[in-house]
Amino acid sequence: MERLLNVLAFASVVLFLIVLRGLRRSRIRVEYSVSWLGAAALVFALSRARGALVWVAGYLHVNEPAVPLIFLILLVFLWVFYRFSIIISHLKDMNITLTQKVAMLDFQVRGRLPHAEETKN
């Protein structure tokens, strides 16, 4: 079990570093990195808090203390995915509205230009 907790702690550190690297290279925006950094920090903290895990395992009537941690990781990542689904849906709505506005403006502009042919794609 100790080895599994060590692997989880190592994985959380790797996740943390990957997100930081993404931030540094501007691949991920700060506001979207918070969920991942928070999740990585939580997993790391719990994998190091053996006493807390033993207590939670006892509370859930599970013999192995790593099981509740894996369950918690699953929940955390489900929450992160759900949050990103909301963000993606919002972005898609905004994209549709923008696309429609661009089409409408393009229509109006082409109607006012003397040589509309030149503006065609």
Binding site: I96, T99, Q100, V102, M104, D106, F107, G111, K120, N121
Partner: protein, 256 residues
């Protein structure tokens, strides 16, 4: 009498014919020319959903104004662009026909007449009972039957063809649809959106024609996705229904 006058929109904004098109170069020219000759008073807007063929050039050559979407949005997003435009330009009504020639523009005046006469928000041109002029695939026929059954208790009335894209809407519906409209396969969900708003719709029998070119986007494989997607959309709209208002409306007489 012009279709505009028949629709009771005298003195208001224009009545606009919307033709969503995606790679419809085989049919769009004929559809636009027919519409221009049969409904000369209507402003014709072809909504090009980022076609990669000559749809835009052919539609413009046939005399239509073309709204070009910079990227492919799908049928619902494309139609909503038209509804937004008509609403923002102060239009009083809009008629939508497909760009593949299945809908006969000669039926447009009858839809507008019904829209004006009944005061309802939407009129749907539906396939005449027993019309064998065009063949409907087995899968589509099953889909129509399924959604007819599903929609009946939701709408509190029978719908002849919930998948018909031949519709006329008035300004009240334009206002709603310009804000909220299903992105994909909008026809069925639109009916539930109307129900949510306590809007009414009427049906007018029309004679459908075989498509002049291209092919349906709903293939056998995609039809499963279609059913699941539309089912989910309908369920979401039911969740948004104001239950008490819905029940009240079903018990009350139809709105004038």
């Amino acid at each position: 009498m012009s279709p505009e006058a028949r629709s009771g929109q005298r003195g208001g904004g224009p009545t606009v014919l919307l033709i969503p098109a995606y790679n419809e170069s085989a049919a769009i020219g004929t559809v636009v020319r027919e519409a221009r000759s049969l409904c000369p008073s209507l402003r014709i807007l072809v909504l090009d959903d980022c076609s990669i063929d000559d749809t835009v050039a052919i539609a413009e050559a046939a005399g239509a104004e073309v709204v070009r979407l910079p990227c492919h949005l799908g049928l619902g997003g494309c139609i909503q662009t038209g509804y937004r435009m008509v609403y923002e330009m102060g239009g009083q009504a809009a008629v939508r026909i497909d760009g593949d020639g299945q809908h006969n523009p000669a039926d447009i005046p009858r839809l507008l007449e019904r829209l004006a006469a009944t005061g309802c928000e939407m009129v749907i041109g539906v396939r005449e009972e027993g019309d064998q002029s065009t063949s409907i695939g087995l899968i589509r026929r099953i889909g129509i039957a399924f959604f007819k059954l599903l929609l009946r208790p939701i709408l509190g009335r029978r719908v002849t063809d919930p998948t018909s894209g031949f519709v006329a809407v008035n300004r009240r519906a334009l206002r709603v649809f310009s804000q909220s409209f299903p992105l994909e396969y909008p026809e069925i969900e639109t009916l539930v959106v109307l129900q949510r708003r306590a809007f009414r719709f009427e049906e007018v029998p029309v004679r459908m024609r075989p498509r002049m070119g291209g092919h349906s986007s709903i293939t056998a494989k995609r039809s499963i996705y279609f059913v699941v997607h539309v089912l989910l959309g309908v369920l979401v709209n039911i969740l948004r229904l104001d239950a008490w208002r819905w029940l009240g409306k079903r018990r009350a007489a139809p709105r004038a």
